[in-house]
């Protein structure tokens, strides 16, 4: 991760005025943060906290009222640096009268991609998001999640250096969500910078290196996810598995030294509770959220979940993911490890590893030299697999059914 800041935001404020020029909403209030090259940065916050507004300002769709915004070192409205940006908006905003292939080709042409390169990328991206079989269907006939996948594909068509994703997983099924998360991680492996905006804390926790949490247009907190979630009150010692007699000895030692022993498990706090705490604190500090107010918290709505002794299945999955993620961070190059993560995540799939997924992206991003004869289904064992086969298998089952139905 380099120290070069891809995005820099200084004291950004955005005020919406009404017809008569009176300030109506202060959507952003003195916001400052930066995104370093090669990191995945999370923008969090409750509904109406100004996440999408920030993104729109970054893309020049809205203009800042005060403050300075720079992307790749130039002002946000600079046209040429958009060559390096991929953007997925809150909703897909695709043209209903185009089919998937036409839509992707259209966006590719907006980047002035040479025809062959564009065709190749369209093919690869369609395969990546699992919509090859329905590429000729009009987008108005797409389901929400399918349209979302096209939205994701169009955000990657230019092999962007910076990818801005506004709630990328909204509307996606769990498999799709998992796939997108993999894609994001793979993008990071390729040195891309990602600005991710999401409510889905599990997603953010899985993916982000750093986060900033907005509340009412103000920054409630910012930092490394590891730091934010690490608990300063306790000390964690990680060792190889201790046999029970040794464990007893250890406990005795704690007792002797008069040190309270809380648990022997993992002390990491979960992002969800951290998020709720932060918001609660921010709410108490700033009584008036300048119009951009989040919904009131219904007492017990979330806390119930936290207090439930039996964690639900989703929480368990999250826990396991978090654990695995840590392992991954510590040993990034270790291939075997990452394969293990993969199989843990995709418990029900066979042993195909995630390296294939990486290869898909690698393949996708390195298509300047077009692969001859795309249409040929011939399998060349030396050629890297075109897709994350694990994921596509799952998807193909899905869209294959649809194809059958169509016939």
């Amino acid at each position: 991760m380099s120290e070069y800041n891809v995005i820099e935001i200084h004291n950004l404020s955005k005020i919406f005025y009404d017809f008569w020029g009176r300030a109506k909403v202060r959507a952003l209030d003195d916001l400052s943060f930066h995104v370093k090259q090669g990191e995945i940065f999370g923008l969090l916050g409750p509904n109406g906290s100004g996440k999408s507004t920030t993104i729109k300002i970054l893309l020049g769709l809205l203009f800042p009222t005060f403050g300075k915004v720079s992307v790749f070192g130039s002002p946000a409205r600079n046209v040429s640096h958009k060559q390096k940006i991929g953007f997925l908006p809150e909703e897909s905003y695709l043209y209903p009268y185009q089919n998937a292939e036409e839509a992707l080709t259209f966006y590719g042409r907006l980047f002035n991609l040479p025809h062959k390169v564009c065709q190749q990328r369209v093919d690869n991206l369609l395969e990546m998001v699992g919509l090859t079989r329905v590429r000729k269907r009009l987008l108005k006939e797409y389901s929400k999640g399918m349209a979302r996948r096209i939205g994701i594909a169009q955000a990657l068509i230019n092999d962007p250096q910076l990818i801005i994703l506004d709630e990328p997983t909204s509307g996606l099924d769990p498999i799709g969500t998992r796939e997108i998360k993999d894609v994001i991680l793979q993008l990071k492996e390729h040195g891309k910078t990602v600005l991710l905006c999401s409510h889905l804390l599990a997603d953010v926790e899985d993916l982000c290196d750093r986060v900033t949490i907005l509340y009412g247009g103000k920054q409630a907190c910012e930092g490394q996810i590891g730091e934010l979630l690490s608990n300063q009150e306790v000390t964690q010692v990680v060792s190889e598995r201790l046999p029970s007699d040794k464990l007893e000895k250890l406990k005795d030692w704690f007792e002797k030294e008069n040190i309270a022993l809380h648990s022997v498990g993992n002390p990491t706090e979960r992002l969800e509770s951290f998020f709720l705490k932060t918001i609660e604190k921010a709410r108490n500090e700033q009584k008036d959220a300048h119009g951009a107010d989040a919904g009131r918290r219904v007492e017990g709505l979330f806390t119930d979940v936290e207090k439930t002794p039996e964690k639900d299945v989703g929480a368990k999955v999250l826990d396991s993911l978090v654990k695995k993620k840590e392992t991954r961070e510590s040993e990034e190059d270790n291939k075997e490890e990452s394969e293990e993560i993969k199989s843990a995540n995709q418990a029900d799939t066979s042993s195909k590893g995630s390296s294939e997924g990486t290869k898909v992206i690698a393949n996708l991003l390195k298509i300047e030299k077009p692969v001859p004869e795309v249409g040929k289904k011939e399998k060349d064992p030396s050629e890297p697999p075109k897709n994350n086969e694990v994921l596509s298998k799952l998807l193909k089952k899905n869209s294959g059914d649809e194809e059958e139905n169509e016939k």
Binding site: F16, T53, K56, L59, G60, L61, L62, F63, V79, S80, H81, K82, Q83, I85, F87, P89, E91, Y93, L94, Y95, Y97, Q98, E102, F106, Y107, R109, L110, F111, N112, L113, Q154, N158, I164
Partner: protein
């Protein structure tokens, strides 16, 4: 360049998927075979074909205007309203390219529509023509499927000035100047009166006009002939009064003479043999008023007498007319793009329609607005009257007068469309006015926060 073509291609795709051009083509094409049974004119095949030509061209330009306006505004405001534009603006596409791309797409749609409809109209005309008898065909060839250029009579500006000055002087000396009028107004009135007098023929008088610049090579072309086109008024105001007229055209050995009774207040055409053309390309036309019942005969100053001579074939005239239609449609697209940069769908439509109607009625308005100005500003050079006149002249400079460019009359009367009209259309309407609109449009659109929701 690919980004530009992508945007223009996309709007064509949008239009085609919305099926507007197809529906429109069906409408116009469906209308044409109906017309010969519905329309009635003077009963001749020429009259029938003239009407078909007139109506189908007017139908074409009206429907295509509406289509251009609708497609442009629907597509543009839709992009903003449904936020499709977010994805375009996030790409390295300057906003002016978006406007220009849209224009190119619509220009393409208009070009294709005009080509198809033009072909259909030509085929319909030809089918009608081929059914005529030999004499009907001849008439159609000479009056409809041709193009004539008109020459106005020679006007002695110097003599005219002298007459005006003399009249003004005598009025001043005799103290006949109206007190409540400005000098300019008085002079204007004298000029008008003098011109009218110069075109007036009292009973048992003859007046002569000189027409110059008619090509002499026509004398060798046996089948061709000249036409004298004119209209008269007379002091007898009775309805459909027929005035006995005597015309002597030419001089020396080759004079073409004709006496006939013709209805006043209507245009007439006299066919003249080409032999009356003098060696220097001039033609002398003499009119004698011998109708006692008519009293004084006037030739109007506007819509004055003209000698017409054959110039070009019909097809090239037709192509020119359609090119001008294309320029008008392009202007409307520019206007619609401009309106869409800051207005929402219904308001932008109303805005452009307003200018469309003004542009269509410009002739009518031009005729009456000065009257209004005169009534309002009579005898007072107040601030208000000056302001009124200034705005009026600016408005008429700015509003495009579409009747200058929709030349259906030229087509159906076999009147040559001059290259000067094409040049005016290209440079003033398309490049200058259209260019200004698109420049302003880009300026506004560049400053627009498209991320704000619209209704």
């Amino acid at each position: 360049m690919r980004d530009l073509t992508a945007i223009s291609h996309k709007i064509v795709q949008e239009a085609v998927r919305m099926r507007t051009p197809v529906v429109l083509l069906i409408f116009v094409i469906g209308m044409i075979p109906l017309m010969p049974f519905v329309l009635r004119d003077d009963g001749t095949l020429r009259g029938q074909l003239q009407l078909i030509l007139n109506y189908s061209v007017i139908l074409t330009v009206t429907l295509l205007s509406l289509q251009s306006i609708y497609l442009t505004i629907h597509s543009f405001t839709g992009e903003i309203k449904y936020k499709h534009f977010f994805l375009i603006d996030a790409k390295p596409v300057a906003r002016w390219k978006f406007l220009v791309g849209k224009f190119l797409g619509l220009a393409w749609i208009n070009l294709v529509s005009l080509t198809i409809l033009g072909t259909v109209i030509l085929v319909a005309l030809y089918l009608g023509y081929s059914q005529g008898s030999a004499s009907e065909k001849k008439q159609i060839r000479h009056e409809l499927l041709t193009s004539y250029r008109g020459v106005k009579p020679y006007f002695d500006e110097e003599r005219f000035q002298k007459l005006v000055e003399a009249e003004y002087k005598s009025m001043t000396e005799e103290n006949r100047l109206a007190q409540d009028k400005t000098v300019l107004q008085i002079r204007g009135e004298i000029r008008l009166r003098t011109r009218q007098q110069m075109n007036m023929v009292p009973l048992s008088f003859q007046r002569r006009w000189l027409f110059q610049g008619i090509p002499t090579y026509l004398r060798k072309m046996e089948s061709s002939y000249l036409k004298l086109r004119y209209k008269t008024y007379c002091s007898n105001m009775s309805y459909q009064f027929q005035c006995n007229e005597k015309w002597d055209i030419g001089s020396g050995g080759s004079v073409y003479s004709e006496s006939n009774a013709r209805t006043v207040n209507e245009f007439h055409e006299i066919i003249i043999p080409v032999s009356v053309i003098e060696d220097d390309g001039s033609v002398i036309v003499a009119f004698t008023n011998y109708d006692e019942a008519a009293g004084i005969v006037y030739f109007p100053v506007e819509d004055g007498m003209e000698v017409l001579y054959p110039q070009n074939n019909f097809l090239s005239n037709f192509l020119k007319a359609f090119f001008l239609l294309f320029l008008v449609l392009s202007f409307l697209v520019f206007l619609a793009l401009f309106a869409s940069t800051f207005l929402t769908f219904p308001i932008a439509i109303l805005f452009v329609m307003y200018f469309l109607v003004l542009g269509m009625l410009a002739d009518f308005l031009l005729e009456f607005a000065p009257l209004g100005a005169e009534i309002l500003t009579k005898n007072k050079d107040t601030l208000w009257s000056i302001f009124y006149q200034k705005t009026l002249s600016v408005a008429f400079g700015v509003f495009p007068n579409f009747s200058e460019y929709v030349l259906t009359g030229h087509l159906s009367n076999g009147r040559l469309i001059e290259w000067s009209s094409i040049a005016k259309g290209t440079f003033i309407l398309f490049l200058f006015k259209g260019g200004l609109l698109i420049l302003f449009g880009c300026f506004i659109f560049n400053r627009r926060e498209v991320g704000k929701p619209t209704l």
